[in-house]
């Protein structure tokens, strides 16, 4: 991270947020109502441990999803760039 400029660091966080939003959207759409409520409650008012456990339980393939979404978003950013240059 030392080699990123301040602006690039800001982008890295925004890209990170985009990836997380997409993962959560994907996972949320596959859960049943009671699981959705548990996951939502964990993030809204759960302890750090409860959040960790909820993520482990409901997003067990986080790493894979993260890698997939990161690749997709990189391609989409490049497509957006192509439109501008």
């Amino acid at each position: 991270m030392k080699n990123l400029t301040e602006k690039q660091m800001e982008f890295s966080l925004r890209i990170f947020d985009l990836i997380i939003a997409r993962i959560l959207k994907k996972v949320h759409s596959t859960l049943d109502e009671s699981s959705k409520k548990i996951l939502e409650a964990a993030f809204a008012s759960g302890t750090e441990k409860e959040k960790d456990e909820a993520v482990k339980k409901y997003i067990p393939n986080f790493k894979k999803l993260f890698e997939e979404e990161a690749k997709k978003i990189e391609e989409e950013i490049k497509e957006e760039i192509k439109k501008q240059i």
Binding site: N3, F16, D17, L39, E40, F43, V55, E74, I81
Partner: protein
Amino acid sequence: MAETTRAENREGLNPDQVVESAVGNLELAESGSYFEFLTDAKKYFRNKYKEGTTWAEEKKGELKDWAIRESKVSPEGLKDATKEIAKVSWGLARISPSIIFKVVYGVYDFIKTVIKKKGHISYGEGYEIGKEMFNFSAKKEKK
């Protein structure tokens, strides 16, 4: 990254502004899929991400020290040790900093390539640009 700056000066394009706009467009598209818990969830994952960044830096030092102590260690051994350390605690976001890092580099490298290419477009690309600007196809159809 320094090369991008040179490209920027040469072509008058600011890569940061281009990325700003590109990321902004994706964020805008994503804003429609808002969940109430997303804000809380993002905070949680952002903290993990920051922890991950710090953790990776710290472990890098530990690994280096360990490798120095065990001077006979092979590169494979070092790789295995990295895996072992990753197993010690839940590595949820511990992998993400490196992935994001690659994405940011990938995007800036892409801009650099596109900017360079801008001055050396192929016949096909030139035709497509001309088609857009002067509407070749429409003229051809009129004939």
